[in-house]
Assembly symmetry: C2
Homo-oligomer: 356 residues x 2
């Protein structure tokens, strides 16, 4: 079932729009300069939405400049005090996220809804297994059913007010609970969902957990915007989220690398070659498939399927473009030659990133 279409600033969410990538700044929001610099890096990496914590009035005030200068919609993350949400919205935030488990009850949630309606902002009602309404937790526990029931209860409240421009999230730190809760909610409601595994942990574990959960849900058509939550810089979250979407055919931006893990057959320094090529092509936004392969077993085959590629031999490599070998070169010249080939393909397509 397709969710309803909603708006976050100029960005379309839900209603079949491609899933949007979001992240959250780890800067002090009161430091507008540092926060804007981080938002710019995240947007460059592919973030469609950036969230900032608003723990006090000074942070809400700093949003005036942040929201005005940010290249992407800014969402205020508010807990405990609904008035901070109101201040953030009046300062120009395109959205606000509140947690019904700690905002102080339905009346206060409705004050936030009124402020969103007044400013045309998008609301997220963020249900979290770790901070469920105590009454709900007593009655239904902290599993998927309790999370879904809690989210549905909040949506009934919001719907009653006539406000429609909102989404929900149902986050748990366990993958199976996250998947089950999101599926339950998607069956019961057309309200768009923000997906994420909360407190997913350090880099490798966090990406693995998030990709499993988001992969299962997005492949079933559930999820309108995603966040990969990592104990790592927000730029890494954006990269991981973008790769998850690309793996599912839901995002095509930038270079996809097909590169082999290397084994006892590899006779060139492949990780170094890959790093060199990635650094050279880091500015490319056009969709491009680049193969960097160590040997002749899978190398030519995979290089053939890519837009451009290289397959290593003994201290040399063979370059491919759109399936055809174009040159044999010594190792030291491979990275630059592959970059030139890649930019040629992009230029010929008339896309950005094809500078000579």
């Amino acid at each position: 079932m397709t969710t309803r279409a909603i708006k976050m600033g100029k960005l379309d969410l839900g209603g079949g729009a491609p899933p949007a990538v979001q992240t959250m700044c780890d800067t002090d929001t009161r430091d507008a300069e540092a926060t804007l610099a981080q938002i710019a890096r995240c947007a460059e990496a592919g973030a469609d939405i950036v969230r900032v914590a608003v723990p006090d009035s000074r942070a809400a005030l700093a949003l005036e400049r942040i929201a005005a200068e940010s290249p992407v919609p800014v969402v205020a993350d508010v807990h405990f005090d609904w008035r901070l949400a109101a201040r953030a919205l009046r300062a120009g935030a395109s959205g606000v996220r509140v947690n019904p488990g700690n905002i102080g009850g339905p009346a206060k949630l409705m004050r936030v809804v009124e402020e969103c309606a007044r400013s045309g902002a998008c609301l997220r009602v963020g249900v979290n297994a770790g901070s469920l309404d105590p009454e709900m937790a007593r009655r239904l526990g902290r599993g998927p059913e309790a999370m879904c029931e809690s989210a549905l209860q909040e949506t009934r409240l919001v719907e009653d007010s006539g406000f429609r421009n909102y989404k929900v999230s149902l986050k748990a730190s366990g993958v199976l609970d996250t998947v089950a809760a999101a599926r339950l909610f998607a069956k019961a409601s057309d309200v768009p969902q923000h997906l994420g595994v909360t407190e997913a942990g350090p880099l490798v574990q966090g990406i693995a957990k998030s990709a499993v959960a988001l992969g299962i849900l997005l492949s079933e058509g559930v999820g309108d915007t995603v966040r990969v939550s990592l104990t790592a810089p927000p730029e890494a979250e954006v990269e991981a989220a973008s790769e998850i979407l690309r793996a599912l055919g839901l995002r095509a931006r930038g270079v996809e690398y097909v590169s082999c893990p290397t084994c006892g057959r590899c006779r060139i320094d492949l990780p170094k070659l890959l790093e060199d090529v990635r650094a050279r092509l880091s500015d490319v936004k056009a969709p491009l498939r680049v193969a960097v392969m160590g040997c002749v077993v899978n190398g030519p085959g995979e290089a053939r399927e890519a837009d451009v590629g290289v397959a290593g031999g003994l201290r040399r490599g063979r370059l491919f473009m759109r399936g055809s070998p174009v040159a044999d070169l010594p190792y030291s010249r491979l990275a630059q030659a592959l970059e030139e080939l890649a930019r040629k393909v992009i230029r010929e397509r008339g896309e950005e990133g094809g500078k000579a």
Copy 2:
């Protein structure tokens, strides 16, 4: 449908056994010393099976020592020359992997099958989109149908010989093709499957692609052993694969961290605290859930769900054990205190890793 049960050395595969994690050495197999050291590190990280490339006779010969001293079953990866597979098996390999697209035709594949039957080894028939049999590729292309048909054609050959102790893999570098091919094969055959996205690429992209593909398939009950293929050391592949299995509730070994991404609310150096705690608990094999949280919003809730945890405040933190707060300590003492608490919990359960 449950796959048939097969054996790799003493390891059970298929037939409902938990999915086994495997990786592949990037050492020169002829250097038995270096290869055994890497196998030991991979086994310590959680690998159940390790594969090594056998590109020539000297590599096959080196397997005598490698197979004898490895703590886990060793699989020989062979291309082009079936006699190398025979030599590797006679040297003691527990399994061999051949690619029907390049081993030289059905008669040579059958020679490998005979050698496996003779030595009690496990065979993997590894179909790869990049090196499909040219005739098959001409007829059906290189998509999921061609991959599945190619795998089924090989299984018919092997079954006709009466040999049963084998598995297949159907690998593509695209996630959606990998998922579709594995699903098709699982519907058509009870032969166990080795899952993996081939040439998945650099760390973040590679984990994301692998976790999406393996997450979808394993959650549907497809897959008996997995490899995460990364352009990164094999130990990282093992960590990523283990995390994917754990996310799905299919592996419980070692510490799971619940740690937050930090935001403008965090007032302690959380990444540093997390790194310190991870280093202290790196030897723990017993299943344990440890929360390392930056603030009071989700902190106490998540710390409550974990075996042990810490929730940060202003330069201090509160420790939790099985849901109850046990101490408030300054930042500098948190890591050590959390380690002590974790080992206490493990000791009380009578599990390994609880040294005082």
